[in-house]
């Protein structure tokens, strides 16, 4: 199983695509809707969780998730699966789409939802997940969670707000009522520490 292999072989710092993911992209390029369905099943909960944490609205999130997969369907031809990383592509695509949405004018005029990071308005998790998928994601999730705990809270805080909340550094500065320069410094220091921890972990376990 692709994701399983990936987690087992955390030999590389970055997520390495399994041959399965690359095959899925190849099949999608060839117009195989079954492949898109498989990819959807593999990524749906991760991506939907990401989107919800950023847009915080169920309908908006559902709409965005569909848009993301439409985009994957349409843009797969331009993706070089031999060179690019499927996971990074999909995750970045999803996150940027969600961020674009909340930064759009129409969205901003709507009443701002709760800014509480990591606490979406609703949370659906449970036995609906594929057990293996859940395990794999949990392992990886655990690793990142631990890494975030290892770095100073003030640094992890700005990173979490930026990544999971989709806020700009200026918005974070306003939100936390701290100078913009401080936000920038904490982000830089925190992310570099996070990188080092993940690298260390991988060198120990790889």
């Amino acid at each position: 199983m692709s994701i399983f292999n990936l987690i087992v072989a955390l030999g590389s710092f970055s997520h390495k695509d399994s041959s399965n993911e690359r095959d899925l992209i190849k099949r999608i390029k060839a117009g195989d809707t079954k492949a898109l369905e498989e990819l959807y099943d593999l990524y749906k909960s991760l991506l939907f969780g990401m989107i919800i944490s950023i847009v915080k609205k169920q309908e908006e999130a559902e709409d965005l998730l569909q848009e993301v997969f439409m985009k994957i369907w349409e843009k797969a031809y331009s993706f070089d699966e031999e060179r690019g990383n499927v996971y990074s592509w999909i995750v970045t695509l999803t996150r940027n789409k969600a961020i674009d949405r909340i930064r759009s004018k129409g969205f901003k005029t709507q009443k701002k939802a709760s800014n509480t990071v990591n606490e979406p308005d609703f949370f659906l998790e449970g036995d609906k997940f594929d057990p293996l998928e859940t395990t794999i994601f949990s392992d990886r999730s655990e690793l990142v969670k631990k890494a975030l705990e290892e770095i100073p809270e003030k640094q992890s805080e700005v990173i979490k707000i930026a990544y999971y909340g989709g806020m700009t550094q200026s918005e974070i500065s306003e939100h936390l009522d701290i100078p913009l320069g401080t936000v920038k410094t904490r982000t830089r220091q925190g992310l570099i520490k996070l990188k080092n921890i993940l690298e260390d972990h991988i060198s120990q376990h790889g």
Binding site: F13, S14, H15, G31, T33, L36, E37, Y40, D41, K44, S45, L46, F48, G49, M50, I52, S53, L65, Q66, F69, M70, W73, Y87, S88, V91, T92, R95, N96, N118, P120, F122, F123, L124, E125, G126, K128, F129, F137, R140, S141, V144, K145, L148, I159, A162, Y163, Y164, G166, M167, T168, Q169, K184, T187, R188, G190, L191, I192, K195, L198, E199
Partner: protein, 273 residues
């Protein structure tokens, strides 16, 4: 050195914000600009921070989307595929063989008509040319005949012994004149006339030998074009001889000639001896 450090710090700072997509548009542009001239170390930092950032996604609280999202997605994609198929069909419709055949037929018809018209033109041109050629041939034949006549006439003049009688215009044509040059040995003569009026279609000029005061027909000739019809060859003029011939005369007679002169006399000349 400080400047270098500042630059490196600035790069790392923007880089961290960039991979989190947390920069303002102007900062994003600034970083993308820096990235194009980044050194290897900076590029490596960017790659690693980007990986770190995408790993953060694993810590997202997962959420199960309603199954309707998948159903709707697949519906939209099926529709998309169907539309594409439709587009392809429409495209192939554009290459409808029947339409293509009609267009081709029309083009061929045009070409054929052009060719027919062209060949028609060519053929009428050919006809005209053939006609002209025939006319030229006729002209050549006429000229050849004329040359032959002239040659025959010259042959008369070339004879060793020729006699000549000069004829003067009579009442009917005071301006007219003519000559008869004859070769008595070969029994032929050459008649030259000038200023004789053209003859009506039912008449001809008749040359007479006045022998022993009796006119004897020596031949018929017509003048239709006074400028051209000036020389005539008279065959079998055996009866003319120096001794008995007194004169030559030309009268206008009914076509075919008469046994004796009946019409007006146009030319007349006496033998000198």
């Amino acid at each position: 050195m400080d400047e270098n450090n500042n630059h490196t710090d600035r790069f790392a700072e923007l880089c961290a914000g960039y991979v989190l997509n947390a920069l303002k548009p102007d900062e994003r542009a600034e970083f993308e600009d820096m990235l194009t001239s980044a050194d290897e170390e900076q590029k490596e930092l960017y790659q690693k921070l980007r990986s770190t950032s995408s790993n953060l996604a694993f810590n997202t609280n997962r959420a199960e989307p309603p199954k309707e999202v998948k159903e709707h997605l697949l519906q939209v994609i099926d529709q998309d595929m169907a539309d594409q198929q439709l587009d392809e069909d429409e495209n192939s419709k554009n290459f409808d063989p029947a339409k293509f055949a009609i267009a081709t037929s029309f083009a061929l018809l045009l070409v054929t008509l052009s060719l027919v018209f062209y060949s028609f033109n060519l053929s009428s041109q050919l006809q005209t040319t053939n006609k002209e050629l025939a006319q030229k041939e006729q002209t050549i034949t006429e000229l050849e005949q004329r040359i032959e006549q002239k040659n025959e006439m010259l042959a008369i003049l070339e004879a060793r012994d020729v006699d000549m009688v000069v004829m003067q215009g009579m009442e009917a044509s005071p301006q007219g004149y003519g000559k008869v040059i004859w070769d008595s040995k070969q029994q032929r003569a050459l008649l030259q006339v000038s200023n004789l009026p053209p003859v009506p279609t039912d008449k001809e000029y008749q040359l007479w030998i006045i022998k022993n005061n009796k006119p004897i027909s020596a031949g018929l000739f017509s003048v239709t074009d006074p400028d051209r019809d000036t020389f005539f060859k008279i065959e079998q003029i055996a009866s003319a001889d120096e001794q008995s011939t007194n004169a030559f005369a030309v009268t206008l007679e009914p076509k075919g000639g008469m046994p004796k002169p009946t019409g007006d006399m146009y030319l007349m000349g006496n033998m000198e001896n």
